[in-house]
């Protein structure tokens, strides 16, 4: 098989396992996510276990993988290099948090739920794409 085909297949497998993980954990249900964010209601701890399980697993995984000189199908590991904290990062995260709290959807679960598409979800996805284009149009300062 050609390398490009294999790279595409690797991407598909990563997406499939990610989507299975979101579904098994219940993150494809906005009620679960909002239940976690509602600290002052009937708190649902599920998301804490999802994030904890993912971070611990990937922390160990990255430590093993990043020892290698390069990825199997690439010349180098493409890791973020920035370390500064700026308004774009913090303001962006705050806007995202408000949208997440309103809907119970962050980008992964929103796209992973296309198999059960509803009109409100479609509206959310279209608006999200518009938001991505808008963010691109706002130039970074400095």
């Amino acid at each position: 098989m050609k390398t490009e085909t294999l790279k595409t297949l690797m991407g598909y497998i990563a997406g499939l396992v990610f989507g299975l993980g979101l579904a098994v954990s219940g993150m494809t249900d906005p009620a679960r996510v909002l239940g976690f964010l509602d600290l002052f209601g009937a708190w649902d701890p599920t998301l804490m276990f999802v994030l904890g399980g993912a971070v611990v697993t990937n922390f160990i995984g990255y430590r093993l993988v990043l020892r290698r000189p390069h990825p199997v199908f690439g010349e180098r590991f493409q890791l973020p290099t920035r370390t500064d904290l700026d308004g774009r990062l913090i303001g962006g995260a705050a806007l995202f948090g408000i949208g997440w709290g309103l809907s119970g959807y962050c980008p992964g679960p929103a796209f992973a739920s296309i198999g059960g598409l509803t009109l409100p979800l479609l509206a959310m996805l279209v608006a999200m794409v518009v938001g991505w284009f808008l963010a691109r149009a706002i130039p970074a300062r400095g």
């Binding site: 991407g11 990610f18 971070v55 995984g61 990255y62 913090i90 995202f96 959310m124 938001g131």
Partner: protein, 157 residues
Amino acid sequence: MDWSSSLQGLAGGILIGLSATWLMATLGRIAGISGIIGNLITARPRGDSAWRLAFLLGLISGPVALMLLGGGLGNVAGSGVDVTGEVIGQPAGGVPLMLLAGLLVGLGTGLGSGCTSGHGVCGLSRLSVRSLVATITFLVAAIVTVFVVRHMIGGGA
């Protein structure tokens, strides 16, 4: 506490962690959904679209595969009716609310260079300070938003 839901959360979380490790091991990429799909749709000139599109198709087919398998492997929250095992839950609001939320999520993750997966799962695994600050910020903003909507405007609904 609902231990079966917590265990499913843990199992799903481990799958998400394995997916992130897999993507780094094979393609050397961070498994950040807003970055992968956002760049697939908005990046000009287009480049390396194939794996991004494949990832998106995989992401969509994961829950669909679980639905086809049946056997109650999902973890949708029950709200009076028995929905245990359903895979994909219903949106929390109508079209106008979702348009607003979608715009904020898109704009916010675009400006902030990441979402729950990129900053939350991958960034925290790398012990990135930027990702830790972003994760705390969006968690606090989301918790405050839910508090305002449910307990101030909604009257505790």
